[in-house]
Symmetry: C2
Subunit: 429 residues, 2 copies
């Protein structure tokens, strides 16, 4: 159990910059990240905690269905991308560079070419190992014309990309269904982002013939979908705004794309010769979740202009314990608070997810406000008292915060054992 | 609990390529990684498991002493590196590229400039938060003239780099001692690499006046240290080969550098204005462990030419259970094996670290050989038997492998409950 002390953290709460929008402003003000140049951000300790939680949550779900984690180099030789024609198709959206032998490389925005080449050269895959599901959570790069909105549109971003290889179109279609179900499980069940819309999309540069985008409502970004208020169906926004079955005009909803899935067919496997034992190219799908973008879009969706909210599974810390100001040098409350901390080792399921708010030079109110602004779900305030008699009850105020709700929720006064009951039951799985 | 099935894994065991040396050959033959171009490797599922374990092990140790994790972009604007003069000093060893506005960037080989700039611009750090220990485990890049030896010398590699900021030289020196102790704990205690040598080093391009390198014996790489066989002291190899106190000639030992630590003084903090409230520049140290290199060097040290061994904390899987060939369609042994698997959920401490070797088309001997070659520390073979009567004892052969020892260690025959006792006691912490 690692306890995190507020007094030791590299964090801050600065004023919201009103020229900057939503998650970008909130993440800057709360010290989640630092802008190193246009479109690039260094994740700082609080933001990194959340980013790691999101990456691990996605990876755990992919592991559960047999996904196998890899990590491919950022750099890819031009020759690899030329084999599918995408060196030209992607053009100036890719960063390009040369090594000392003047070999040309790109910084990869996606990895269909490289992953397919690996599978093609790896040797025979036994039929029992299919569908093969290979994924990575790695930095991707786009030489964006207009990077903006913080982690929403960056030139370097974290993406989880999964590539599946199947023996034929029918099983590839089944696999597509399985991964799509996992995406929904991640977005709806694990993250509680019930506004997620899956819409049919164009395969574009990627190739193949079936594709879906995942969108979250977002007023800052520039995507749009059409939503039918009668049947609830949605699709990408376009010139035709009629919902045929309902004969109604669709409503235009501003959104941000946070995931994209493709049935690619054999475009890549043919190009690289990724074939089964009988010489038939594998049927390939690919699936991408923008991890940094999903983080920004979740904050946009769940927060107010000044109060940050995250999906509960991603909260910076699950629990904060506010220590009282020392009233005297032998403050019984502080002694008590430290005795609580000694017992926290029993809560292994909260691992390093407990923040000790020990900045006693600040008032309890200031610290509560800050923790509310950060969206810590469980906050305990150890009440100050000059001295306790042996059988005095120690009083602990319990507050909660919840996504989409911006006031602190007062959950009343607890005693020691009630507080420990709450801790014991947080988020067991 | 995620069970890993051998029949589903993207792995292989190919012949050792005798033109390639040691860890490079072993990691290729065991499907740890795939070479995408000169000096660059894609980590595949088995290698990725080990790499993730090593990264997490290092991070856990750094978190224990108050290290705070960040992740900085790979790209840094030239302007940042020019402020310390290192844009020129590093020269052609850095990959360089331009964005669409013709702004020049490097792919960072290290991050003193960027981390110091962040600290300088972040706002006041309260004295109670010092020493500030910020680290990251991220990809680094070197435009190597001669990339070689697999993960030992790559142009893209994973590095854990920590930067400390202190209020004065005395506390910076204490912090240097604390992190150095953690490095030793990682290398000696956690990884069991007792051959590690810490030697005084030159600060070189980095600046500052105290520096140490960590070396492991390695016959392939080109580093050397001198070791005194009398007093055991060691230092970088140079023209003077005498150990003064012992008046003996030092022995030349071929090694590979796997870590480097520096007391940097105020070179960077002055350049970027990272100052305390009184306007005094922080005293800075930096510490780097080459994660991918350490992995390769550990394998070099612990393995034979054909049998891979890893530090036990990094083993690909902690446990493998070899299922018997189905003798008949209603094989009692197989039923029993599956019943064991249902009970494995009780071993939460083994999380996803159990491999079920279900490739029953291969003989038990072939599979044992493969698992020995991979260095799985605990191997259980469920014996085949056509049918069991209700009170028959199920027999399980138990084998171990250990670092620096290349034969399977036969630990005898266990019954069901003895096997579970072994599982229960593996690596509890």
């Amino acid at each position: 159990m690692v306890l995190n002390y507020a007094s030791r953290l590299f964090w801050k709460r600065s004023l919201i910059d009103k020229k900057i929008k939503n998650s970008h402003a909130l993440m800057l003000a709360n010290g989640f990240f630092y802008q190193t140049c246009k479109g690039q951000f260094a994740f700082l300790p609080l933001g990194q905690r959340v980013l790691d939680k999101l990456s691990l949550l996605i990876e755990a779900e992919l592991n559960n269905i047999g996904g196998q984690k890899c990590s491919l180099p950022s750099m890819a030789p031009a020759s690899l991308w030329k084999r599918t024609g995408r060196w030209q198709e992607y053009g100036s959206i890719m960063f390009k560079l040369k090594d000392r032998e003047r070999t040309e490389f790109c910084l990869q925005p996606t990895a269909e070419e490289m992953m397919t080449d690996i599978v093609a050269n790896y040797g025979t895959i036994t039929p029992g190992a299919l569908p093969l599901l290979l994924y990575q959570t790695t930095e991707k790069y786009r030489n964006e014309e207009r990077p903006e909105f913080g982690s929403i549109r960056c030139s370097q971003f974290l993406m989880n990309d999964l590539y599946s290889f199947d023996v034929d179109k029918a099983t590839a279609s089944e696999t597509y269904g399985v991964i799509s179900a996992v995406y929904k499980r991640i977005l709806f069940n694990r993250l509680g982002l019930n506004e997620t819309r899956m819409v049919e999309a164009d395969n574009g540069d990627m190739g193949g013939d079936v594709s879906h985008e995942y969108h979250l409502p977002n007023v800052a970004a520039q995507d749009h979908i059409g939503v039918c208020n009668t049947c609830g169906s949605s699709r990408l926004w376009g010139p035709d705004v009629t919902c045929e079955p309902c004969n109604t005009v669709m409503q235009k909803m501003p959104t941000i794309e946070i995931g994209h899935t493709f049935m690619l067919g054999t475009r890549y496997t043919e190009a690289f010769g990724a074939k089964d034992e009988g010489g038939v190219p594998y049927f390939m799908n690919c699936f991408g979740l923008g991890v940094t973008r999903l983080l920004g879009a979740s904050i946009d969706l769940l927060s107010s202009a000044t109060i940050m909210r995250l999906p509960e599974a991603l909260s910076v810390f699950k629990v904060a314990i506010i220590l009282p100001k020392p009233i005297s040098t032998s403050s019984a409350s502080l002694d008590f608070a430290y005795s609580i901390m000694n017992d926290l080792d029993d809560f292994e399921h909260l691992k390093d997810d407990i923040l000790i708010e020990d900045r006693t030079q600040k008032s309890v109110g200031q610290r509560l406000t800050h923790l509310n602004q950060l969206g810590i779900p469980h906050i305990f305030v150890v009440q100050a008292k000059k001295s306790y008699k042996p059988h005095d009850t120690i009083r602990i105020e319990y507050f909660r915060t919840e996504p989409r709700s911006f006031e602190l929720i007062d959950c009343g006064i607890l005693n020691h054992s009630q507080m420990f009951d709450v801790l014991r039951n947080i988020d067991r799985k």
